[in-house]
């Protein structure tokens, strides 16, 4: 750790991990509700479990991004953070807002929560991923603006690099696009059209800038390769991501009301969306093979390479699998979509945050790397989580393909619930893989508590 203010990253990383654990618990419950429909009913209806699962995901990834920023921006800007106090204040504001919102979901009915938070005066709730009450959405805006201000002041007074510029551009874009969460037209078609400006232009746009910058930073640190080479690759990755991803939004506009030409624009541009992820694989393996030094943190290198491979599979391959309009006509809104959602979020965003934590946490505790024993434990968690997520994805894909066949691509379509009963076996197997994933999470937590101090270098 070069600058003492980088230490504010630590609570962000700890909160990210805690919320990640919560996300997995609710995921397990939902997985079981898919096969034992009345599990925990009426205490925890599926929709509540799902919105807790997805909102926790978004919030822990954001905590991870912010922690990453507080760690890497001072180091890149070569100066202390503008205001560590503001960073800590915003940490508590974000955590309290997040936890209170989750408790609201769990202990008040959703309709009641909408009423008491005044949703009738400015309706923004009840839309997928944007379920948060208005006051929570405003809280998120305040936290993100304060965060951007703090980092912008740091970078403006310090060194500007491709890494911190791309990172901040991503976060400013994220904040700007989130404003569409406050816009909810009466017309469902327009609502859906702009809803994607938040959802798609986050995960297939601005978040990819943040991902790319974090990826480049960790690569630079772990391999010691020339900065100019790393930054060139970063520009190529984020450049191809935006050039394909912005109009790639068209793959969401096929069937929800916009005109048919989006089937051409969306199919064509999203066919290029795997390119940045493929470049990331080339980049990562090339740099690791040409590294200038042997970094003692080997588990961070494993996470880094894993992120490249899994994001290519999850976002690139599984996305492409269903992105062409003639295919999407049948797969739209099936378990094939759920399969892609799981592998892409895990492979790209969960893994890059875990990569960053793996690299930065030892440094924050004054070590170059953890002990061999701690690293091996963490490597076990890497393989358990990653391999089981591949299986979750394969089982959901199988469920989705059979669902498409029985319900849609046939002359004798069966009703939705009849089909669900027939594919239950895949849901059981998915739940089995999810249990292995959970074991991986437990091993991950344990890795923080095994003796880490055998090797002290800093």
């Amino acid at each position: 750790m070069k600058y003492s203010s980088q230490a504010v990253a630590k609570p962000y990383f700890i909160a990210a991990i805690a919320l990640f654990v919560g996300q997995i618990v609710f995921g397990l419950i939902m997985g079981l509700q898919y096969v034992i429909g009345d599990f925990l009913f009426p205490y925890l209806p599926f929709n509540i479990a799902r919105l807790v699962h997805t909102n926790l995901l978004i919030v822990w990834i954001l905590f991870g991004f912010m922690g990453a920023a507080y760690y890497l921006i001072p180091e890149e800007a070569e100066r202390e953070l503008y205001s560590p106090k503001l960073a800590i204040a915003l940490f508590w504001a974000f955590l309290v807002t997040g936890v209170l919102t989750i408790l609201g979901y769990l202990f008040i009915s959703y309709a009641k929560l909408a009423e008491v938070t005044g949703n009738q005066f400015w309706p923004t709730m009840g839309r997928e991923f944007l379920e948060q009450p208005l006051i929570t959405k405003m809280g998120i805006v305040i936290v993100v603006l304060g965060f951007i201000f703090n980092l912008l002041m740091t970078v403006l007074q310090g060194r500007k690099t491709a890494i911190n510029t791309v990172f901040l551009t991503g976060f400013i874009g994220l904040a700007a696009l989130f404003l569409f969460a406050f816009y909810n037209p009466h017309n469902l078609v327009l609502d859906k059209f702009y809803w994607w400006w938040v959802v798609h232009l986050w995960v297939e746009g601005t978040w990819e800038l943040i991902l790319g910058a974090m990826f480049a930073f960790v690569t630079l640190k772990l391999t010691g390769v020339d900065r100019d080479v790393v930054e060139k690759w970063l520009y190529l990755i984020v450049g191809t991501a935006l050039m394909s991803g912005i109009i790639g939004i068209g793959h969401h506009y096929f069937w929800i009301g916009p005109p048919a030409y989006w089937q051409w624009w969306g199919s064509l541009f999203s066919a290029f969306e795997p390119i940045p992820f493929f470049l990331m694989i080339l980049f990562a393996f090339y740099m690791v093979n040409h590294r200038r030094h042997q970094h003692p943190n080997q588990v961070a290198t494993l996470w880094l390479l894993g992120t490249a491979v899994m994001s290519f599979l999850g976002a690139g391959v599984w996305g492409f699998l269903q992105t062409l309009a003639p295919v999407n006509y049948y797969t739209h809104g099936t378990q094939v979509t759920a399969a892609h959602g799981h592998l892409s979020f895990y492979g790209a965003y969960a893994m890059i945050v875990l990569t960053m934590i793996s690299y930065a946490m030892p440094k924050l505790q004054g070590r170059e790397a953890n002990s061999n024993k701690a690293q091996v434990t963490e490597m076990w968690s890497f393989w358990l989580m990653t391999v089981s997520m591949v299986f979750i994805t394969l089982f959901l894909t199988a469920a989705g393909i059979v669902q498409v066949y029985l319900q849609r691509a046939t002359d004798t379509p069966l009703p939705y619930m009849t089909v669900q009963d027939k594919i239950a076996v895949f849901y059981w197997m998915r739940e089995g893989a999810a249990l292995i994933f959970t074991i991986g999470v437990v091993v991950y937590l344990i890795s923080f508590f095994v003796d880490k101090k055998e090797r002290v270098t800093t």
């Binding site: 509700q33 929709n47 309709a111 469902l188 609502d191 060139k232 935006l242 989006w262 009703p415 619930m417």
Partner: protein, 142 residues
Amino acid sequence: MAEIVTKSMAKGLYYGGSLFFILVFLGLTFHTISLAIPTRDHRDQLNPAVVAGKLVWEKYDCIGCHTLIGEGAYFAPELGNVYKRRGGEFVKAWIQGQPTHVTGRRQMPQLNLTEEELNDLVEFLKWSSEVNTENWPPNVEG
């Protein structure tokens, strides 16, 4: 291949390429929003009941289990075309009859909707089923 592309070329690609496609996207958006969608969403039938029905849909987080024109959760049937599949009266009776309490079966909560909320919701689902979706879903089962 590392030497063919220089850092400044890559930087130019990132800034120039992104800006170019943002502009193309804004152009397409303008056409879609102001010229194309108005001919496809039958907005003339967007009456107060439909607007109120959308709020009911949102207030009870229906999207948390169901899909609406393919978007949402995949735990319960597609509702974008439920009006065509089942009709309005069936939808109202179904919602009022929940939960089924069949052991092991997926359960929908009793939402205690008023008659007015039920009617508005059905109007919203009817309106949604008439959007031009390029013939999606492939058949009435959704």
